[in-house]
Symmetry: D2
Subunit: 348 residues, 4 copies
């Protein structure tokens, strides 16, 4: 029988933190034994300070936990630390935890682009995990920081991976229609989104353009294609949709691209990790799918659903629609899958 590992969640009361709490409830390997949040919440019960926004109830075992303050000294005896901290404060705090010997699995953007920090979308590049060794040597700490990508990057890189491997990529153009939960809570004001689209999400295009190349490249060198993103907020609750246009290196008929996507599996699937979906990319054949509300929970929110794979008349490759769940594959779910890889590889 597997002994459960103890997990802490930093930033546990926020919207991504709540998803970590929800997804870890009932996890076969990890059990939350500590939750940390800002000073104003510290010392009180989790159920009292988390303004719980999910239709499911707060998991009982977490509801009763006392909220700790966010510092290594306040967290005791945990095997892995999940960070759902806001980017502004994550940088320093995560380093403190790594110095104190903790392995931090982070959803924050602060360290994603550090050359010695693995930025993992597991089915795509879990082999980058060995950057941890370099990180430890260079930073002289016994802990580690491992990150998952920005939500829209996590969703984009899954279907790009099989194309990149089989056909090569010269250029990617991507236009997103992103859900409200991506902005956290309270996030987008209702007066800003009813009967409206907001064609701007701060730093999102930059993240999508840089993280994608780090993930699809080797740890030492970004992938060598060009990418341009335009990011937009629409009135959906969960699920980012992306219209993707790809210029390929080698002839790629839509049928071949579909086959490549459907055959694509990563180590996560081969290892049958608890959070890995059966298929990282699910291709729908209907002319009008994927749709945000109907398809975002495919594979428990861990699959990306692709549809409308068709020839691109301008770039000479393919275009398609990709949809993924932004707070699961695009945040907490991806982080948990990362932790599962770390466990299998004995980093935790």
């Amino acid at each position: 029988m597997i002994k459960m590992m103890k997990a802490a969640v930093l930033g546990a009361t926020g919207s991504v933190g709540q998803i970590f709490v929800q997804l870890l409830s009932g996890h076969p390997w990890f059990k939350i034994s500590a939750v940390a949040a800002s000073e104003s919440s510290a010392g009180r019960k989790y159920s009292e300070v988390a303004k719980w926004r999910l239709p499911t109830s707060i998991p009982e075992e977490v509801a009763e936990l006392d909220v700790a303050s966010i510092e290594p000294e306040a967290i005791k005896d945990v095997d892995v630390v999940f960070s759902a901290l806001p980017a502004e404060i994550a940088g320093k705090i995560e380093e403190d935890f790594a110095k104190a010997g903790y392995v931090v699995v982070s959803n924050a953007s602060a360290h994603r682009m550090d050359p010695d920090v693995p930025l993992l979308n597991p089915e795509v590049n879990c082999d980058h995990v060995y950057l941890i060794d370099e990180q430890r040597k260079r930073r002289k700490w016994s802990g580690a920081i491992v990150t998952n990508p920005n939500c829209s990057t996590a969703i984009l890189t899954l279907p790009l991976k099989p194309i990149y491997d089989e056909f090569g990529i010269n250029k990617v153009v991507v236009s997103t229609m992103q859900a409200l939960s991506g902005a956290g809570y309270p996030g987008v004001a209702s007066l800003d989104i009813v009967d409206n689209v907001i064609p701007f999400i701060r730093m999102e295009e930059e993240k999508l353009q840089t993280e994608t190349l780090k993930i699809l490249g080797s740890p030492s060198e970004p992938a060598d294609f060009k990418i341009s993103a335009s990011c937009h907020r629409v009135s959906t609750l969960d699920g980012h949709m992306e219209a993707v246009f790809v210029e390929v290196k080698r002839e790629a008929a839509p049928g071949s691209v579909i086959t490549a996507m459907e055959n694509f599996v990563g180590e996560s699937q081969k290892l049958r990790l608890p959070t890995a979906p059966e298929k990282p990319v699910v291709v729908r054949r209907e002319e009008d799918r994927p749709q945000t509300r109907l398809d975002r929970l495919e594979g428990g929110g861990m699959s990306v659903v692709v549809g409308r794979v068709r020839k691109d008349p301008a770039l000479g490759g393919v275009k398609f629609i990709a949809l993924g769940h932004n707070t699961i594959r695009g945040a907490a779910g991806c982080g948990i899958l990362n932790a599962e890889h770390l466990k299998v590889k004995k980093y935790i």
Copy 2:
């Protein structure tokens, strides 16, 4: 004093037909003297059969008109015929009217791509109007058919025009976020769009990819760039937003592109036509504009609002957001502006 011209509206009870009725109310040159609709409505008062869906009231002078059936014999003594007919039936009926000597200004797609039918987005290509002469000769009729573009094409081609003229275009990639009114009434079911995006609009990508080249080309030859579109329906009432990525022929810094767009005027502006907006393209500088609800009525719904003009790192040109009102610039308003050009040029 100008003598008012008499206008008929075919398909006057439908959603585009209602916009024609609304926009023509108070028009300084045209006055609706006949409305035609399907057999089930014919013979009854317009106010009784039009399920009026606009926040403004039915213009009084039209409310009392008897609805005629849609055939040339049923319409008497009008100077111009506006067609808001559904594509499936527009082809034959519009030809009947042209044969009977009427000048038909049509919003339907049936004849848009006919080589001898002008497809006009006036500020871009009102010079194509002379195709009427060819049309009359070839088809041996004394009337004429003139069309305006599909809604998303009308919106795209305005900001592309100054880029095309000043910098040249190799490739255009466009991803749309289109409003519900584009699907007519009842159109999209509410259960299909609340908390959802539908990444498919039948024939829309094809129209956008072909009409754009006809409009920006010469009457005898389409423009020679490549274009790829992905079209999506989002939960907005009116206003199509488009994320546009352009590969240019000659170096085009965002600042220069903005200048070109702001300086752009067409003959419609020079002639000060009643429906022409002061500026066909309005450029906003805020980082998060244009927004659908806030900007769709710019220039009375006849301007396209552009924002976020920035360098495109993949295509080596510029990317930007364009927003226009789909039932005004993208349908009835464009048709009326076409009719104003026809009047000035004595075709009506």
Copy 3:
């Protein structure tokens, strides 16, 4: 081990029919062995003709069934018939099935107010089931028709029951905010509901005003209080919210009403029927609950969530908010719970 009973669903491709199919999948007692729909679908596979609109997949065992036409001869060897037929055609067809010896558990309104047809919201009045005997005698058939209430009635009567029993009721005023799925598919046009409320649902107020009295009364006599309803459609997908104002016969402090609601259980709970929720009425204490999206799936969609129980300063009783899932408690789920009662009582 229980032998599974065979069930047919009439109108199986419609929106309520789909919910029946979904909820019966995995049911411990009933197994769908036949699906029937209109002539245009008959003879084809269910998965081909049902435009499946739910985020879950079509249950495999039903997907492959051939759709039968809606007549007793076309359905063979089933133990119970669920009817999700539209009201207009349900009346005659359900009678045909009852004549042919089938027990029809119907969600249609056609026979609800027939004096010899049980109209059951099980926790409230499952004892009315014995009307079947009268029905069989009077109508001379061996089958039976049993109905569940209109969606808003099913939701209203659960919290009213403990009030009625403990305090007596003189008057009820109820104002609803009903979900889009209540109108079926395609149902409400998106252009009619984005940024809008429609203060009218055909026949809904009449149903709410009459069915409530039949359910809370005895089979031979309606309950003797007065009730007034105003029904409105708002932009939610599932879940009807109702603001309820009650004039009571005997002093009813909010605290006592809450206690009565929380202690309330019906025979469904005592018998631990598979579809019965643990509590028919769940009372929330937060000042801003229940909320439609957060609470509609309480008790698997079979509980009604009540909140804001407070003194009513005009009627001299209490007012509160009630929320229930319109297609589960308010339709298919209630029908299935009815069938469970029928089985326990050996009517099927």
Copy 4:
């Protein structure tokens, strides 16, 4: 020719403040000569600090004004002061202005229920204005404070007035479906309202229940009927809808109630005040009107649109739907109409 009066707007950058600015632009009697806002905005240009959220542009003459701090000393030479201050700070500040001799026309709730402060919905009770004299005597100031009602109260009291006068009222039950703009900006989080209803608006029911009686009563005594409200937030941008149930004193057939409402005019109409709508109450006959989006701008947003007037089977009177624009009739528009009355009556 009328000499323009100079007006100041306190809280001019907030959402109600912006509506005051918009509505006063082009007003025939009042011209904004000063705008005041919180310290962080003071000293800067209005166009720089107001995050303008309306589809229309900032009126040019206001855009260039320097924002003053909110104190009498900072405002010079104005004839009337409009207050769009938040309730928490309005109480003290408005008193300061009144002490300094200014007539303050306030939308804030702070002083509405003070016995010597007129709470005016002009067509209903503009005669209460004489309370100013009492106020001045009692408070020993030369200025004055005059208030308009809470948004939902302003909308409710217009159609109640003719019923109260002609038939008498015993009881009113009202259930609201209120728009997002009523909560200000940013106000309601989008994640809280997409696919949701929030059945709670802080202090709204209390305001509706007390203000209504003050307005319909005499200055010295509230109206003597009972009223119970339940208030709910739905996903509409502007326009509060109210389901109203009335127990009358004297037989009131729906037809007679409609006649009373349609014949109802106030002094505002008789004086033809600039902001007075032609009819304070407009009755629609369609079975499904008023609708929020289609009818909220009736009478420039100053009329209340009533529909579905029908017999109430529980209360023995009538029930109907009332809809009004919450930021125009329910806030700034009502305040401006109040100021027009004050001018005519020489209080300013």
